[in-house]
Amino acid sequence: VEILLPSLVRGAGIGSTYALLAVSFVVIYRATEVVNFAQPALMILGAYFTSVFVVSLELPFAVGVLAAMVVMAAIGAVTERVAMRPLVGQPVFSAAMVTVGVFIVLTMVASRLIGPEILTVGHPWGVEQVQVGGFRFAQVDFAKVFIALGAIALVGLLLGRSRIGLAMRATSLDQETALAQGVNVGRMFSISWALSAALAALAGMLIATSAGGIAAISALVALKALPVIILGGLDSIKGSVVAGLIIGVAESLTASYQASYAPWLGANFEVVVPYVILIVSLMIRPYGLYGTPEVQRV
């Protein structure tokens, strides 16, 4: 139990970050049916801007994070307008490959801005620990869970209750019909990208709270959101939360126990656990826990 409980909490912390990233994928997928492979770059840029605002400009932490999210939202919207809009009506594969191109470009920009340094975001939680019933947990893990789930709940409210959310859901159902009903479909695409980039920035901040900060190269961590969206279902926000927590906890449990129970899997096996879950979940349930099964027409 001394190992189990802290691993569970740590797993929930990582998992909720993954869930947040997964939601940022889902928002774009629902609007445009494209899996946005550029998300890791958006995430690392978000972490960079948070670091600039909080550490260099010494803004209050919350203000800095919000400012970074606004900047990233603008970058996301511009990217959509420049790179993705010309591809409306093209095969989904082309659009996905363009996001790979965007990924390369933005990663380059990010690593140019960050350089070889390690990013820290100057977060207020530090390395302090909380004592609950005789167990010690890192404060930052609770912060991750609250912030990530809070942000996801806000997005859920926005999509479910607001006028814009209704328009976005209409767009994801059928773009042409939505257009005929007076929805500005192009603007919905922009909003989706902006929202998604802002969420990625928030997730980047949460990832950068890890001890010692993050380097530009750790952008690929964001790809762990892919197993999450596959397990949860590509178009389901609820699925993202559940699957994010499952995968985060699985990863942290592996980190705690694999070395003593299955050493033949090699060191650092927890890094690939999400992908093993991904492969298994595609075998058993390709559309995920809460996803909509794809209807195929000839």
Binding site: I104, M108, L226, G266, V276, L278, L282, V298
Partner: protein, 382 residues
């Protein structure tokens, strides 16, 4: 039944039977240009220096793996982001069978020092077997799901390679590649051919070119067969193909197996041109490079990946050479200017993928088709 010569004169595209229409060289222009290009490629070792020959060898091995990716992703339409790991499996099969044992900080690295006639086929067959085993999984999902699945395979495979120190020498250390020796004849040694002494890489380049020609002709022939047409049917609409009697699993399996075979051979030859191999080399970036080879070259063609490979390999060097003349680029890491040359290469690479997909989805091959059609129809515009 072939058309009499007198009738064909002045009508190069008159076909009266399917065999002529479907022939490898269905026009004489194609025949002569292929022969000319081949002769130029063969003569390169006598003209280029060692540095440029190494680049040419990279082009050849990239083309081999690129054709492999085009079989599964271009012809059969099954997007794979895991191509790099199949190359890695091929490279390590070759290194295990053909390399020599050594010791690193992680322990002993095995090597059996076998002949190229054994390790080169095995470098193709072992990845092919892995592809064959992986295919039933891949056949369950399509489109972007498949891309994500192969991405998962890539990460798991990369982990396996990093942890198998007995095979790979361990993360960050690596090992020596297989030695290219055929029955005691070393293909990576200085040789005097036609009165000129060729460099080591020059001799190896000729061998790699031979492999490329054989595999390219095989690939081109494959696309003209029943199986090749089944690939296209699956790419265009897999359910419709199934209704027409194309066995989905078997065809997809064949595509994955063949593609992994090409990848493995390409990977094995690549490591010899590089001179060493580390388990980190077979990562997502390499996979994306190969997608670029296919996308920039031309989807669902055999000549496309060859053009694409030339482009992807030579463009960075081209930029490096001319970096001094571009104002905002610094030639060294940490120099002044907005970015250094390596960052500019990656940036341009991403921009190229975007531009080709947006403006010319058929790639450089499509550009060539346009140019050709323009001159074919000249002086008319259509």
């Amino acid at each position: 039944m072939s058309t009499p010569r007198s009738l064909r004169r002045g009508r190069p595209e008159l076909y009266s039977d399917y065999a002529a229409d479907q022939a490898l060289w269905n026009t004489s222009a194609k025949r002569w240009s292929t022969i000319a290009l081949l002769l130029i490629a063969l003569s390169l070792p006598w003209f280029l220096n060692r540095d440029h020959l190494t680049l040419a060898t990279y082009v050849v091995v990239y083309a081999i793996s690129g054709i492999g990716l085009n079989i599964v992703s271009g012809f059969a339409g099954q997007i794979s982001l895991g191509h790099a790991i199949f190359m890695g499996f091929g490279a390590y099969t070759a290194a295990l069978l053909g390399g020599s044992p050594s010791t690193t900080a992680f322990g002993t690295v095995r090597g059996y020092e076998l002949d190229l006639l054994i390790w080169l086929p095995m470098a193709g067959l072992v990845p092919a077997l892995i592809g064959w085993l992986f295919a039933p999984l891949a056949a369950r999902v399509r489109g972007l799901y498949l891309a994500i699945l192969t991405l998962g395979l890539l990460f798991v495979g990369e982990h396996f390679l990093k942890e198998s120190a007995w095979l790979t020498g361990g993360a960050g250390l690596g090992r020596k590649p297989a030695s290219p020796t055929v029955l005691g004849f070393d293909l990576y040694a200085r040789r005097t051919v036609l009165g000129t002494e060729l460099s080591q890489i020059g001799v190896f380049y000729l061998f790699a070119l031979l492999v490329l020609v054989v595999l390219a002709v095989l690939g081109r022939n494959l696309t003209r067969t029943r199986q090749g047409r089944a690939f296209s049917a699956i790419r265009d609409r897999d359910i419709a193909a199934e209704v027409m009697g194309v066995p989905l699993l078997r065809t997809k399996r064949l595509a994955f197996t063949l593609s992994s075979f090409y990848a493995g051979i390409g990977g094995a030859l690549y490591t010899i041109a590089v001179g060493g191999l580390t388990p980190e080399r077979w990562n997502l970036q390499l996979s994306i490079d190969f997608l670029a080879v296919v996308l920039i070259g031309g989807v669902a063609t055999i000549s496309g990946p060859i053009i694409g490979a030339a482009f992807v390999v030579l463009m960075p060097r081209f930029i490096e050479t001319f970096a001094g003349s571009i104002p905002f680029i610094s030639a060294t890491v940490g120099g002044t200017g907005i970015m250094n040359v390596f960052e500019f290469q990656r940036l341009l690479f991403g921009v190229m993928i975007i531009l080709f997909l947006v403006l010319e989805p058929r790639g450089l091959f499509g550009v060539w088709i346009r140019v050709r059609n323009y001159f074919k129809a000249w002086p008319f515009s259509y």
